[in-house]
Subunit: 127 residues, 2 copies
């Protein structure tokens, strides 16, 4: 019952690929165009929002006015360079049992979290 969907498929492959883990819709669009020759931004957008509803990817807000998406497996945090804007993944979860302490202090049951460090990357520090 499903028709071939080259654009959506390509978006999925991009997320599945190991090279990059954090994508803006724009970057995805560019990559899809590069791979398929042509693709519409809105099609990429719909593929992405579909995947988000499925739960296979989720939004990451880097505070730069653009929405980013990341594959759901392997939760982790990010750190962004104040200078060049580069974003790097912070291996491991820095917040192991913070949720219980948050629960006692606020009464909220923590379901998820998103942490963004900012700092200066080695390259920028070297300048």
């Amino acid at each position: 019952m499903a028709r071939p969907s080259p654009v959506s498929d390509q978006v999925r492959s991009l997320f599945a690929a190991e090279q990059k883990h954090l994508w803006s819709i724009d970057e995805l669009h560019e990559a899809v165009v590069g791979a398929l020759g042509a693709a519409d931004y809105s099609t990429v957008f719909r593929a992405v929002t579909g995947m988000e509803k499925e739960g296979s990817i989720h939004r990451i807000d880097l505070g730069d006015g653009k929405v980013h998406y990341e594959i759901s497996e392997g939760h982790h945090e990010h750190i962004r360079c104040d200078d060049c804007g580069r974003v790097v993944e912070v291996p491991g979860c820095v917040l192991e049992d913070a949720s219980t302490s948050v629960r006692t202090s606020t009464g909220f049951v923590v379901t998820s979290h998103q942490l963004l460090f900012t700092g200066v990357c080695p390259e920028c520090a070297a300048k």
Copy 2:
């Protein structure tokens, strides 16, 4: 040399007030209009961006597409209810010495961070 600036002053008072610590530009605008009778959104916007440059307030991104601002003193984190969207401040910094561990794992020197928990607030859990 300075002219009276009722709008900017009002914005500053709002941040100085203890009642609310997290403001969207929209909310600030509404509050200023309520207090002064009239004020332009762009004027509030300019007051806010000025304060941000001064360093007296800083942006907080709650991932809802709007920019929020918060007074700089007393760094802390936030938790937002998945259900009703309510945002509550998490007392204390949950990340005491995470920065050194981040530094060893990524090489970045951490200058700041922003953490957003999401969860379910007591009221919504009661439903």
